[in-house]
Each structure stands twice: as C-alpha cells, then as structure tokens.
Amino acid sequence: MRSPSARLSFQTLPLRFLLMVPLILQIILQLGWFAELKRYPSYWLSLISLAIAALVGSLTVLRVSGLALHRVEEATQAAFENSMFENALDGMFQTSLEGNYLRVNSALAKMYGYSSPEALIADQPNAANHLYTEGDRRSEFVTLMQQQGAVSNFESQIYRQNGDILWISETAWVVRDQVGQPVYFEGTVKDITAAKYIEADRQRIEQERQQVEAELSAQQAFLRKVIDAVPSAIFVKDQQGKFLVVNQAGAAMYGNTVEETLGLRDVDFNPHHEEIKDFLDSNQQVMATRQPLSFSAQPMTNAKGEVHWYKTVISPFIDDNEQVQGIIGSATNVTELKQVEEALRLSEAKNRAMLSAIPDVMGHLRGDGTHISYVISKHSTHDLLPSGYNVVGKSIFETLPLDLAQQRMEAIQRTLETGELQSYEQIVQMGDRLQYEEVRIVVSGDDEVLVIIRDISDRKQAELALQASEAKNRAILSAVPDLMMRVSAEGYYLDYVRSDQITDLMPTDYTPLGRSIFEVMPPDAAQQRLHYIQQTLATGMPQVYEQEIHVGDRLQYEEVRIVVSGENEVLVMVRDVSDRKRAERALVQKNHELAEALQQLQSAQQGLIQAEKLAALGQLVAGIAHEINTPLGAIRAASSNTAKALEESLQQLPKLFQVLSADQQARFFALVDRILHSNIQATAREKRQWKRSLTEQLEGHGIADARTVADTLVDVGIYDQTEPFLPLLQDANADFILQLAYNLARLQGNSQNITIAVERAAKVVFALKNYARYDHSGQKTLAQLTDGLETILTLYQNPIKQGIEVTRCYDALPPMLCYPDELNQVWTNLIHNAIQAMEGKGQLTIGTRQALQAGRNFAIVTIADTGCGIPPEVLPRIFEPFFTTKLAGEGNGLGLDISRKIIDRHSGHIAIESQPGCTVFEVWLPIE
C-alpha cells in the first residue's frame, strides 16, 4: 500500500527546487558576490547564464537521484504510516470497496467502545450493520464514496458497542492504484459528540436569542403601534430639546413623519418664536424643578400656519442614575374642543341674550321648591324681588308671599307627579298696582322643574276691558227699550224685533211679517203711522211723534221714531215713554214745589246770614269780654287810686308850706311841673332799666333807700336829671315831699289811664255796634272799606295780640257804595279763618288796592295769612254750605258760603290762592 503523501512529494519535488532559487540567489548575494557583480554589469550576463546552466544540470541530477531514493523511502514510509495510524488521536480506518474494515486504529476501536482494533474488526458484521443510528446512513456513505471518491466531514450518529450514542465526523477518500483504479477506502473518524453538543447548545442559545429578539422586536413594534395609535402626541426630548421619541401624532403636530422629526427640535419646524420660547421655558422649568407641568390649552402653529391648541402635560425624563435627561410629554389636540367650547360659549351667550330678551321670569326649581337658577330678563318689569337679590338656594317660601308659595308648591308637585305642564294665573300686588301673571311649570329634569312667569297684566286688562265692553254691549242691546220694525213704504212689515220693555199690542207668538200695519193697529194709529212713514221717505229726515195706545186698562204713551232704512223702507222704533210722561208730569209738580221752596229759602237766607253773623260773634264774645273788662279794671283801680291820692294830697298840701323853705318850695314846684309835663309812655322793661340806673345815681349822691326813691321817681315819670331835686331828696322830709309829689302826679296819671282805658273800651263797643248792625233798608251806603276792616281787627285784637303780626297795606280807596255791615261779615269770616289757619301764630296781611278789570274799576281787599293752607282737594268745596274742616263748635260751615253770597250781592267775586304758608283771599268789589 502506498501512502498518498509519497506520491504527492514526488510530484512536488521540481516545484520545491524552483522555490529554492531565490534562496540560492540570496545566499549568493550575501556572500558578497552581488556587490561585485553590480560593479561589473558585464559579469551579470555570464553569471545568469551560469545559473541557468547550473539549474538545468541540477534538475537532471535530482531526477536521477530521486529514482534511487524512491525505494528507500517506501520502506521507511510504511513504518512511519503504521506508527501514525496507531498513534493517531482520531480514529482511522481502511475498508474494502465493499465497506469491510481492513484496518482500524486503536483510537477508532476505543471510540466505538471496543477494547482493540482487532475486536472491532472481529465484530465487523455487527458493527457494519448497527453502527449508524439511522439505518440508511451507511449506504448513503457508501454511495457518496462510490460516486465522488471522497467524503468529507460526513457527520452521523452512531451506537457504541455498549449502546451509547456518539456523534462522529468521517472523512474518507478512495485510495487508487498506479492506473487510477480504486483499491480501498481510507478515512478518519472524529468523535464530535462534545462539539456537537456545544454546537447544539450554541444553536439553542442562538435560537433562543433570535426568539427573544423577535419577541422584543415584536414588542417594540407593538409598542410603536400602540404609541402611534395613541391620538395624543407623545414625545421625549433631550436636554437640548431634540426629539428622542415621538409618535405619529407627535410628528403630525408639525405635519411630519416620525422619521423626519426625530433628532430635530421644535424650532426646526416652528418659526413662531413666542410659542417656541414658551415651550423652552416650560421644558426648562420642568427639568429644573423636576415637577410636571400641564397646560390646558397651548397654542401651536403647524407647517401650514394653522394654529392648533393642545392640552399638554410634560414631565421630567429621569434616567436610572436619577439624572434629568430631558422631558417626556404628551399633548392632546383640543382645538376642536376649544372651538366647540367657544361655540358653546357663544351659543350660551346667545341663548342667554335670547332668554333675557324674553320678558318672562324663569327659574329652575327642585321638587322641594328650592331655586337652582333664576333668570330675570332685563325687559321683565314684573319681578317681585329686588334687583340683585340672589335666590339660588332659597326656597320659594322665602321669596314669595305665603299664599303664592303654597299655590306654586302644589303646582310643582302636580307637575312632577303627572309629568305634564301645569299652568295657572296669579295676581301679585306690585307696589300700588295689581299684576296678573301666568305661571307655567314643566318638568326639566329629575326632581326639577322649569318655572316660567309671564306678566299678562296687559292681556288680562284687555280681557277684562273686553269682557266689560261685551257686557256693556249686551247690556246696551238688552237695554234698548224700543220695539223695532222695518216697514215698507206701503205699510207692510218687513222685520219685527220685540223688546221686553214695551208692551206689545200683538201676542208674542204672532208674526206680523208680510202683513199691513192696518191689520195690526187701530185704524187711526195706522193712518198716523203711514203718514209719518211717507213723510220720512219724502223728506229723508227722521220723524218723531207720540201716540197714546190703550193696552188693557191702562194708557201707554209711546214715542215713535221713523228713519229711512233702505229704498222704500223705513225703520220704526217704538218706545214706551209712559214712565217719562209720568216723570215729566211729576217734574212739573216738583218744579212748582221747588219754586215755592226757593222763595221760602230766599226769605230764610237773610235770617241765615244774620244767624251766621251772631254765631261768629258768639265765638268772639270771650275775647271781647277780656277787651272790655281790662280797661274797666284799669278804670276802677285808677278811680280808687285817684280818690286816695286826692285825699292824701289835700292833707299834705298845708304841711308843705310849713316844712319847706322857700327854696325847697321852688324846687318842689319845679319837680311837680316837670312831673306834670313828663307824659312818658314806657314799657315795664324800660321803667325797670331807668329805675336801676336811677338807683345807682341816687346812691352816688348818698340818698338812703335809693331803690324806693328811684321807684317812686320813675312812677312819677322822672328818671334822669335829678340834680335839681337832690336837695329835696336829701332833706329830712324827703319821704313826705316825695309822697306829695307822687300823689299829685298820680292824680294826673290815673286820669290819663282812665282816658286811655275808656277809649279802648269805647273802641271795642263801637266795633261791636258796627258789627252787629243790620241795615234793614236794603239800600247801599257810602263807606270806607278800611273802616270795616279796622272794626274787625279791633274785635279780633285779643287773639291777634297773642302771636299774630298784622301788616296793613292800604292803598287809598274812595268811599264806595256798599252794604258795610254785610261786608264786615265777610271780613270777619276771612280774618277769623286766617287766624285759625295760623293757629294763632303768624303774619296777617290786610291790603286794599284798586285795579281795572274788563273795563271796570274794582276795589280789591286782600287778606293773606301764613297758615297751613287749604289742601287742593278741599279748595273746590270751601264755598259749599255746611262744608267745614273745623272741629265741632268752631264753625258751622256757612261762613264762606254766606261771604260769597254777600260778595255776589255786590256784583263782586272772590279769588283764592293757597299753598302751605301762604293763603291769599282776594275780594273784588266793583266801584260804581
């Protein structure tokens, strides 16, 4: 057997030699030859020639020696191969072309579980048949060998002898003889069980890895899908704002794909710096604070320049090392929501505007009557509640009067029970008017109703007015008292309407239509009727006549009116005027009676005037009594004082000449003279002041009891310039001297007082006489109006002086013809009323003047007071007889009535203007 390596070495020998050429060349060069040769290029050619010759020579030598060598080699080769075969670590075998082991080495035997190669070969039939775990593996191997002549790394599973399974890798080749005929198969077997297991493990691991990768990638894809499926934008940005992660919605915010977006920043897509700045600010804030931020609506402009609104949440993106790496955010497009909200807001505003334009008051209420909402239109004027009052949360029992609240509550409950609209009307007192309201209640939710209240006052009033009008019309129609008929020119009835207020000649079931009036009426009446019908048609003017008809046992008076009602026809209206006729007769009778009564009344009037005058006088009496009694009191006291003064002075006079020196006498008479000429009228207050200053003066002159002396001096009318009399007052007889002077002075003083008092009393009596006078002559006399006014002022002096200031503004008037006593009664009434209106305090202004009116000369007396005034509602009635606003006993209500009658008698008139604080009566009397 020849080993393949021997053949190979032989075949490659020339090549090896060739390979040695450069080596040889190098040796040559290193021997220094090359250097020499370089210097002598002509030697190059001879050298190369030499080398080629040597080469050719050596090839020849080698060939010759090679053949000799071959035999030696074959011997050593066999030994070597045996050693290699036996000691090889891989299993080795040689088989026949049929596949029977020719030779195996120990490694193979061991591999296959045999103790020795011989044992393996001995077990060959078994081994050959049962080696491979797969039955056809052996024939496969053989086929491959036969077809290809070699098998390389043919891997199979085999049974070891003990039944264990091994993985082996066989490499075999065909060993051919010199002519190329196959001689046997030769090959190696490697135990690759361990490698196989490692490989299997590796494959398993690889498989698992791939599986995991696949799963991971599936998961990633899934996640990506999920993220992309999220309609909100989801994004992760790094610290510089570059998108690390973004989903489709996120990329779509700028109108891009995910791939276009990743790694870029907002600013790369959005040219709106304000927005970008906001994003950056918020991102920075989140990264700085590590706190999430959310925005309900952030504006963002996309590539098309459209602004969208996003609800955004951004959170810090924190890695495992707790470092902030950027932000994670999500943004939901709420543009539509925002638009919807805006639309909703607009719609709501519109609704509200519409609601507020509805003049109803509306409110949502819960079933228990609590307000949930309340809408008051600005046009609604009928709200009970004050504006600005918030009723939400309040019960109707708090906001409505009890009866209305109860009614409303019942309606609400009924609405909720039945689910049907309830409506009712209510009347509400709004200030000073009644308001009619319609209340409608509908269910608006679970235990919730909508209450709508409308002011229907106008409608209601119109309804009421209509009802009233209809009722009136009905009343009018039913009250038409006439029997009405249409009659033709020839006297035939065309139509006939009965009235329940006239007794018809015809029975009620009788129909006169088509019949002649002559069939129905007495002949003379029918004749008369026809006459007037024809008269009516001839003139076109309504005709009226009266007729008397006997109905049963009574006479019925009828008024017949005939008017044209069409061509050749008239409307005849017959009215029973029996009552009117009777009334007319009664009226005539009454007129007669009235005329008689009037006559009596006129005669009574004068008495009445007098009575009223006396009544006024009665009220004056008390004051007048005082007016007379006061001067009487003064007179009586003065008279008594005079008597005493006279008596005393008569006793004192003789002594005068005894005790006083001539000088003193002269001084005394000077004193008396001064006293008698002093004639000073002073008030009590003035006298007290004089007395005080005089006392001081006298004290200064050393007069004892200066106060008493001063008092007496003032009493006698001396209050200054006392120096001439000081010697008298300082005299030892001063008391006597003073008392005598006092007595003499008082004789005069009392006399003067009596005169004053008498004048006072006389004036009152004169006024009374003037007032009470009644001129029976009926003739006017010439008089001064101011005299009469003064008379009355005198009579009223008492009440006047208690707080009324009288101002007289008398323009000169000529004496005029009048009834002075009657006019006094007018002045009395007007002044009395004025004093009462002022309640005793105020200003009474009496004036007279002249004026021309309508070409006539008038004397005008004005009496004005500052009293309470006459209320406008009373003013028109003050001249009514017996009308009075005074308390019982203060007046009989005839004063002004009589005053006006008196002024009428003078052909004058009276005018009044009145307001609180100023009432003016003007009496205008013509000057004849």
Binding site: G623, H626, T630, I635, A638, R685, R688, D711, A757, N798
Partner: protein, 139 residues
C-alpha cells in the same frame, strides 16, 4: 325811714294801664315795705325773677293776667310753681277759660283768682290772705 325792703310783689299783665294802676294800688295798700315789680309777659316775669334773686330779693306774691301773648297765665303759674313753690300765686284776669283756672288751682296751687274789673278790697284781701297763708307777712 322804713327798713330797706327785701321782699317783693311781682305782677304780670300785657296791658300797661293795668300794671300802672295795680302798682299804685298795691303801693298805697302796703307802702314801702315791699318792692313792686311789673312785667308785661311771662318771659319778662322770669327775667325779673332772676334779677330779683341776684339782688337777694324774695318774691312773696305773683299776680298774673291770664290772656297774654305767648304763655297763658295758667301755664306760666304752673311753671312758676314748679320752680318756686313758696311764691303765692294770684290770677287777675278779664276773661279766663274755666278749665285753665281749674288747672291753675290744681297744678299751681293758685291762691285766688280775681276778675277784672276788681275791687280794691278783694285785691287787698287776696294779698293779705296770701301773705298769711304763706306765713310770710312782714311786720
């Protein structure tokens, strides 16, 4: 010379002739033992009262008219009585409401009501009895 008087009689009337004649009458009745002061209205009377008080003069009797401008006599005397209950009050009037007089008796402790025209005797009696009643008659 009589002792210097420190007691006074005050009279109030709106009529000057009444004041003048009344004063003379009183003066003749009681001489210089009293100071006689006149006032023409209730308000003025109050002033006089105050003045007299500051001069340490005591008013023993007050004679007042009823029908006067301003405060009526009964009202005035009631006010006086409330402040000076010891002053003897006399009314002198030409006409007075009966109710007013009754009120003065009741609420002003009115001593006497004289009507105009009055007699000197009645006046003297009213003053003297008044002074006695008050236990204040001066010797």
């Amino acid at each position: 010379m009589v002792e210097k008087p420190t007691k006074a009689i005050l009279f109030v009337d709106d009529e000057g002739v009444i004041l003048e004649t009344l004063k003379e009458q009183l003066k003749r009745l009681f001489g210089h033992q009293y100071i006689y002061e006149a006032a023409s209205s209730a308000d003025e009377a109050w002033e006089v009262l105050e003045d007299l008080l500051t001069e340490n003069v005591e008013v023993l009797i007050l004679v007042s008219d009823w029908l006067m401008p301003g405060t009526k006599g009964d009202e005035f005397l009631i006010q006086i009585h409330q402040k000076y209950p010891h002053i003897v009050k006399v009314m002198l009037t030409g006409q007075a409401d009966e109710v007013a007089i009754a009120r003065a008796y009741e609420q002003a402790n009115l001593h006497r009501c004289l009507s105009k025209p009055w007699s000197e005797e009645d006046l003297a009696d009213a003053i003297l009895s008044g002074l006695e009643q008050g236990g204040l008659r001066q010797k």
